[in-house]
Symmetry: C2
Subunit: 473 residues, 2 copies
């Protein structure tokens, strides 16, 4: 796999740093100075609609933010890698509306339901912004009577949480979900979901990670569903927690207290199966059990899992509470809630916590002094002479029509130095220079910004020469 930021350059470091340090939430303007409270400022602004314009606060809503071009570049690289992995596992892409009928979301999120954004009743339906991508997926399956589907979805979701923005928690954030719906032989789709988590986290080179399964859930499954005696379940618990899951099967089979108990063997069946598959996938040692993990959202049935990073950069630990970077589990009952006859479709899936991953990688780039190019411009069209706008426009049009990414300054008579500085500032690798002399001789100068070398090439070979240069670099 390629390092995820192979294309980045050192120059953007300063601007990235500036972005990260800038308090993007509150921009105080005008003579009135507000204190630290964003909400106070907004309240004042909203209570006094007829006040002087100079007193209003321009900001994004609480817990939301704009994403700068620098942030968008990082984000798109990460999303591309995640989507690539989802496609590698045969998933189709689905999209659902940003809002759902309010009743579709009620009773799905337990005590978190208070965090759902409702739309104002404007004389139509009662609507709410989606809270995750899982409930809309289940609604889609039930509505279209789909019994089997491997799909991914990438999109924003909204939660009215108390925003603690320094820790990277927002009220609007992106989710990347992969789910397998359908009745299949046990544990095969579950193991694939864990494999996908590992592939994404390895691919993004976030450092060591571990996927934790809450032992509490597993124990509950064994006791409630398989009828295992609680004390036997606890004995199994001793094992899986001590050994982290890796050498689980052999160890437990060597323990006569377990291997002689028929129910214990049955209760261990799914776990053993899962770890067999995880071993075949080469990821068994990445999976562990954790007594401390709490259950997730209300719709989960059975085992859930969560991936945590084991090491984070020292700096990141200061300002980011990293925690879980991916989570998932089985929700066999959710589709049935939507189906009028209660017909259900078993589902298992995962969600990549891309916002935390964005934050970690932005932080790391800061530390490493990585510079990000925010445009992909390949060629700049420049002139050292006055009154050459027409020639520049003709030339750049030729480049655009050939699919070459090109820019020029929107000035009739820009200075050559200004034009060259722009290229250096923006990281544009090539400059095409046209002037009186070149026009007369039917040539164009092609300049490499890095080496400052210039070569004269025939005007008619321009596109071909540029394409050659670009393919070499």
């Amino acid at each position: 796999m390629m390092p995820p930021f192979g294309l980045l350059h050192r120059r953007a470091w300063a601007s990235l740093f500036g972005q990260l340090l800038r308090p993007s939430v509150l921009v105080c303007i005008g003579e009135v100075h507000f204190h630290s409270q964003v909400s106070e400022a907004v309240l004042i602004s909203q209570l006094k609609p007829h006040q002087e314009k100079s007193n209003f606060v321009i900001k994004t809503p609480k817990g939301t933010r704009d994403l700068s071009p620098q942030q968008m570049v990082v984000r798109e690289k990460i999303l591309d890698m995640v989507i690539d992995c989802f496609k590698r596992h045969g998933a189709k892409r689905l999209d659902t509306p940003a809002f759902e009928l309010k009743e579709m979301l009620t009773e799905k999120y337990g005590e978190d339901s208070g965090l759902i954004y409702d739309l104002k009743d404007q004389g139509g339906e009662l609507l709410s912004l989606r809270y995750d991508l899982t409930v809309p997926f289940a609604r889609y399956l039930a509505m279209n009577k789909v019994k089997r589907m491997k799909r991914y979805q990438v999109g924003k979701v909204w939660r009215r949480e108390s925003p603690t923005i320094v820790q990277g928690r927002y009220r609007e954030f992106c989710q990347c979900d992969f789910d397998i719906a359908g009745q299949f032989d046990p544990m095969i789709p579950d193991a694939e979901c864990l494999k996908i988590m590992c592939e994404v986290l390895s691919g993004l080179q976030l450092g060591d990670f571990l996927i934790k399964i809450p032992w509490k859930d597993v124990r509950h499954e064994m006791v409630a569903k398989k009828g295992l005696a609680p004390e036997v379940a606890d004995r199994i618990g001793d094992y899986v927690q001590r050994h982290g899951g890796v050498s689980l099967v052999e160890e437990m089979f060597q323990d006569s207290r377990l291997s002689q108990n028929k129910q214990a063997l049955e209760g261990l069946g799914d776990l053993r199966l899962l770890f067999e598959y995880l071993t075949l996938f080469g990821i068994a040692e990445k999976i562990s059990f954790d007594l401390s993990l709490a259950r997730g959202l209300d719709y989960y049935t059975g085992v859930i899992y969560e991936a945590v990073l084991l090491q984070t950069p020292a700096q990141a630990e200061e300002c980011l509470s990293v925690g879980s970077v991916a989570a998932g589990g089985r929700y066999d009952g959710l589709v049935g809630v939507f189906d009028p006859k209660g017909h259900t479709v078993p589902c298992v899936g995962l969600s990549i916590g891309v916002e935390r991953i964005f934050a970690i990688l932005e932080e790391r780039m800061k530390t490493a002094g990585l510079k990000i190019r925010t445009t992909e411009t390949q060629v700049f069209v420049a002139t050292p002479q006055k009154n050459f706008l027409h020639e520049r426009l003709k030339l750049i049009s030729e480049l655009w029509d050939a699919g070459i990414k090109a820019e020029l300054l929107y000035k009739n008579n820009p200075k050559l130095l200004t034009q060259l500085h722009y290229c250096e500032h923006m990281g544009i690798p090539l400059v095409v220079i046209i002037g009186e002399q070149e026009l007369k001789e039917g040539v164009i100068k092609l300049r490499s910004v890095a080496s400052r070398e210039e070569v004269a090439i025939k005007r008619e070979n321009l596109v071909a020469e540029i394409q050659k240069k670009l393919s070499e670099s």
Copy 2:
């Protein structure tokens, strides 16, 4: 340029057709039968929350829809082409939240303001869903005191319009915007915006199109801003409408009634400049004037433009009101509305009407019987034997780790025929087959689904051989 649907296969035709014909808005379930009105069904369902579950209606909100995997494939191909064009012109990507403070949107859209979706007051700020991407961009510029920026943004916007879904109008839809903010020499960014419109529409091969500038606006500019006598402006109007803009300059200069009038010459200055640049860009003949076009949203200043398709497939004309497929214009005053001191940043931009383009291309694919693959799976891992799940899992894991897109059936003992049918149905080109015999000999059978040819290859060369096969096709 490549044809936009080079990767599509014929087999998806049936399913695409099914998607398009399926009434995706209302799914009536249970014993209660509603009439044609969606709203009635919803009203009943929402007024009776305690009714039997079998009476509720599973649907997406009025004017919204899910996008099926087939639709997502078409959509992503179109968006990729549009974004590619925006990047070719040096634009950076920006993202803004789905909702803004309500006050940011008020007084920006004139009589359309009633179509804004407001969020419910849940004890925080008053919020509204964004209505377009232009106002958030202007807010971003003012908030961050950005004086110059070439940016693009792709995202959903929401408008509470009466949905006429057969005509392809939705309450949630995607916009693709490109804008140039900053003080530059006249008409250069404007001409580039028109060039971009032409590149996008040509690239998507939608057929002949024309970009229309409303003459009413141009006349207003000349009379109000340049002080031209209305009757002289009307004389110019006669010209530009008759000639559609192409041979405008020469014609008007030959008309002594115009060339002898100093103000007329001045008034013609910008127009002439624009057409000079459009000629250099090779697109002058694509631009025309239209007396009938109404002004757009409230924030536009000066000239706006709109691209219309000249021909649409006969079938599309029946069920789609195609109309404008791209629009844009200058809005020099908008940033100043947000700036507390009224400092303004001149802007010009365009928006591609991707929803209409999606609808046209889906329609066209229907007519052409094009089949869409909804997954990108390259290899399927199959076995003719029982108890080969472990081998299949080990094998597919190897493929995934090598970056190869691979699938298998989630069954312990699937039939070979079922596995091969799956490949044909899904358009997967290659099958890897492993059985007793192959295991013994240390080989794998590699089968081409199309030709049904099978070759035995050494197990250790598997990944290399597959990569070779895939690069050949």
